[in-house]
């Protein structure tokens, strides 16, 4: 029997009279990768922002392993990670300090140094760990955004175009990492404009247009 990790019920988002996201029902199971595809302005990012709690939906309820994202915020958010397409960072903290801060906030300090080194080396950021992210290239910033999620535990991860700024090797690395997460029972929802990536990784694809899901 499959286990629902992330669930959205009648989720919608409007801006004034413009409906960016029509009422949506979504259930993501443990250990599956779901690709969110569709043209620009289809509502993919709005859906991810709502699911992550960064943007309050106009209607609907979101639960993570049964915990309501707004009523049981602590429990829900400690199980959920989101990586935006253009991550932003504190100007005064280096990449390594960002990882440490996130690990501390999520109480994932045990074995932090080893995990941080391993992740930084895997994503080729070890040499640049003491630099401020402002001096990083766009691809490096995206990698660091991913690492801020990977440094702490989660049951579901939402990624907004996670390979858009990456070179082919790094994109493959991210793909492999997501496959490993799936094997460990993690739920992955990623938006992408790359049909190849969706085909290679996803167990199923959800196509969006004008705020609605389309039949694929």
């Amino acid at each position: 029997m499959s286990l629902t990790i992330l669930s959205a019920n009648e989720l919608s988002r409007t801006y004034g009279k413009f409906q960016a996201l029509a009422p949506t029902q979504l259930d993501l199971q443990a250990g599956e990768i779901v690709a969110l595809t569709g043209p620009n302005g289809a509502g993919k990012t709005t859906l991810l922002l709502c699911l992550s709690g960064l943007l309050r939906p106009t209607t609907g309820q979101i639960t993570v392993e049964g915990f309501d994202l707004y009523r049981n915020e602590r429990e829900a958010k400690s199980r959920l990670a989101f990586v935006p397409d253009v991550p932003r960072f504190y100007p005064e903290l280096t990449a390594y300090e960002h990882l440490r801060f996130i690990a501390m906030a999520y109480r994932a300090e045990e074995g932090f140094d080893l995990r941080a080194e391993s992740l930084l080396r895997e994503f080729d950021l070890w040499e640049a760990r003491d630099l401020y992210p402002q001096s990083y290239s766009r691809g490096m910033r995206l990698k660091l955004g991913l690492l801020l999620a990977f440094i702490r535990p989660f049951r579901a991860i939402l990624l907004d175009e996670p390979t858009s700024a990456l070179d082919p090797d790094a994109a493959n690395l991210v793909g492999d990492k997501l496959v490993r997460l799936r094997s460990a029972g993690t739920t992955v929802l990623l938006s992408t404009h790359s049909p190849e990536l969706a085909q290679r990784l996803a167990d199923r694809s959800l196509k969006m247009r004008s705020g609605h899901f389309e039949e694929d």
Binding site: S52, R100, M104
Partner: protein, 542 residues
């Protein structure tokens, strides 16, 4: 020659159009009413400037009279000299560190890579930079001139005295103008010499530092003398003659023509030096040194203060840092750890002044003799405490994708993020209020007891005001709103409530002992309400 001037004039035109747009003047609108409006705006600013300078001149007259009761013009000369030398030291020091010519990224590609006449570039770039600093000196000159006129004419200045009043100001301005022009051009010439070819001459930096050192010593010497306007020793009189003669002429101590001649001689020498020094100017080096600065200046001039601050911070931070060794706690304790690392990593001068201002306001509450003065100081304290208290929270909000993902409910997140600033506001204000304890025991004690509740209300209300204006789209690109006038007004109201209660009860025969607990309760209750309202606003950001 023409290319450099063509580009520079276009740039100045664009900047001028921007200022006109702020005034609400649209150059495309050729209607008569629009032209009349421009004329009206020009007249308004002339009159406004005259009024402000006349107002300042009243205080200036008192200052000059106090410095030199027998001959206030001596004090005017000394103050003018002090302003010019102090500014000159700063600019000379700056000229040994970075190019005086500031180029944008576009200039770096389109001008600095071309075999354009270097002298033309230096002379074309000079006027705008000079004007920006000159305006301040012109204002100083006119205010000092008006101050002297006030002292000469007497306290009752009539319309009939206006020509003499204006002429005295213009005479001072006529003296300052060439002197400051020449000095500025000389300092630019120094900066241009540093940019000769690849490295610039080795003697320049030590020579400039010697000049700076001597100027600082002479300034300190003058400031340490008991009579501020006392005559300078002969050696300083000779060294500073090119500055002193024109100023003495401007303030009526010698014939105007002789002084102006000396002033214009300095002005012309400066411009010729700049012309000579800029021949071998390395424009690529100048562009490399200044394109970051140009971005900061452009952002600041167009009102994007957050962007200007962000760019300045980046310059100050550099590209990296060894990991912080500060111990930190897990969970909510991670937020104060982050705040502390950030605060130690980047110490902004503007932040130091803002905290100092808060301390001065609290000191004002404690020390000012009248209740009216204390009320005014309290109003400024509320605004400063609100802005200081939410300063870090604003910056955290600008990292929305990190902050909002943290596994903390909004109410606890707000407390953890605002608590360090609240403690600092309390510490600084509390220490500044201490003199009140000795001066008027009961009121001092009351102020210290009320401080936690009132400062918490003000800070939570400031946070609510920011959150009320914020939206996710702008937070995601790193822009958080500032505390608005409405937020400041509400902060004042919240502060006034418990204080008004104390005064009202005291007026009605109840002593402080009985009214204070109620006021503290109201203060803490208001803080609680402000906290809940702010937490709801954080969760409900659209």
């Amino acid at each position: 020659m023409r290319a450099a001037w063509f580009v520079r004039i276009r740039q100045m035109e664009t900047r001028f159009k921007f200022y006109l747009a702020i005034l609400g003047y649209d150059r495309r609108d050729r209607s008569l009413t629009h032209k009349i409006y421009l004329g009206y705006a020009a007249v308004f600013f002339v009159i406004w400037g005259f009024a402000v300078m006349s107002l300042l001149a009243s205080s200036g007259a008192v200052l000059l009279k106090n410095i030199s009761p027998t001959d206030p013009s001596l004090a005017a000369v000394r103050l003018g000299w002090l302003a010019l030398v102090g500014w000159g030291i700063y600019i000379l020091f700056q000229a040994t560190r970075r190019s005086p010519l500031v180029f944008s990224e576009e200039d770096a590609y389109l001008i600095c890579q071309t075999p354009i006449d270097r002298r033309a570039v230096a002379l074309a770039w000079f006027p705008a930079d000079w004007l920006e600093t000159a305006l301040a000196f012109w204002a100083i000159a006119v205010v000092l001139g008006f101050s002297l006129a006030e002292l000469r004419i007497g306290p009752k200045i009539g319309l009939v005295d206006l020509p003499q009043y204006v002429t005295t100001g213009l005479r001072a301005l006529a003296a300052f103008l060439p002197v400051q022009l020449g000095l500025h051009a000389l300092l630019w010439a120094t900066g241009c010499i540093r940019l000769w070819r690849e490295r610039g001459p080795a003697w320049l930096k030590p020579a400039a530092l010697v000049v700076v050192g001597l100027a600082v010593i002479s300034l300190l010497w003058v400031l340490s003398q008991s009579g501020f306007a006392a005559p300078l020793p002969p050696v300083l009189n000779i060294i500073y003659a090119p500055l002193l003669y024109p100023l003495q002429a401007g303030f009526g101590q010698m014939r105007i023509l002789a002084g102006l001649g000396a002033g214009w001689l300095l002005g012309a020498s400066g411009l010729v030096s700049l012309w000579l020094a800029s021949d071998q100017l390395n424009l690529s080096r100048a562009a490399q040194e200044t394109h970051d600065l140009e971005a900061v200046q452009a952002a600041a001039k167009s009102g994007q203060s957050d962007l200007a601050q962000e760019l300045t911070d980046r310059r100050q931070l550099g590209i990296g840092h060894a990991p912080s060794r500060l111990p930190g706690a897990g969970g909510l304790g991670s937020l104060p750890w982050k705040d502390l690392v950030q605060s130690l990593r980047l110490i902004r001068l503007s932040d130091i002044f803002a905290w100092l201002f808060l301390a001065i306001c609290a000191l004002g509450i404690a020390l000012l003799p009248s209740w009216e003065g204390r009320t005014l100081a309290l109003a400024f304290w509320v605004i400063a405490a609100g802005q200081r208290g939410v300063s870090r929270f604003r910056r955290d909000l600008a990292q929305w994708s990190i902050l909002r993902q943290l596994p903390f409910p909004p109410d606890t997140l707000m407390i953890a993020d605002l608590a360090p600033a609240w403690l600092l506001v309390m510490l600084i204000s509390g220490l500044s209020l201490l003199p009140w304890l000795w001066q008027a025991g009961d009121y001092g004690v009351a102020a210290l007891i009320l401080l936690p509740g009132i400062s918490a209300s003000v800070i939570f209300l400031g946070a609510h005001d920011i959150l009320r204006q914020a939206n996710v789209a702008t937070l995601l690109v790193g822009r958080a709103p500032e505390v608005s006038a409405r937020g400041a007004g509400l902060g004042l109201l919240l502060t006034a409530l418990p204080l008004a209660l104390i005064f009202w009860m005291e007026k009605n025969g109840l002593f402080l002992d009985s009214s204070l607990p109620l006021a503290v309760g109201i203060g803490l209750g208001l803080a609680y309400i402000a906290w809940r309202v702010a937490a709801n606003a954080l969760q409900g950001i659209e």
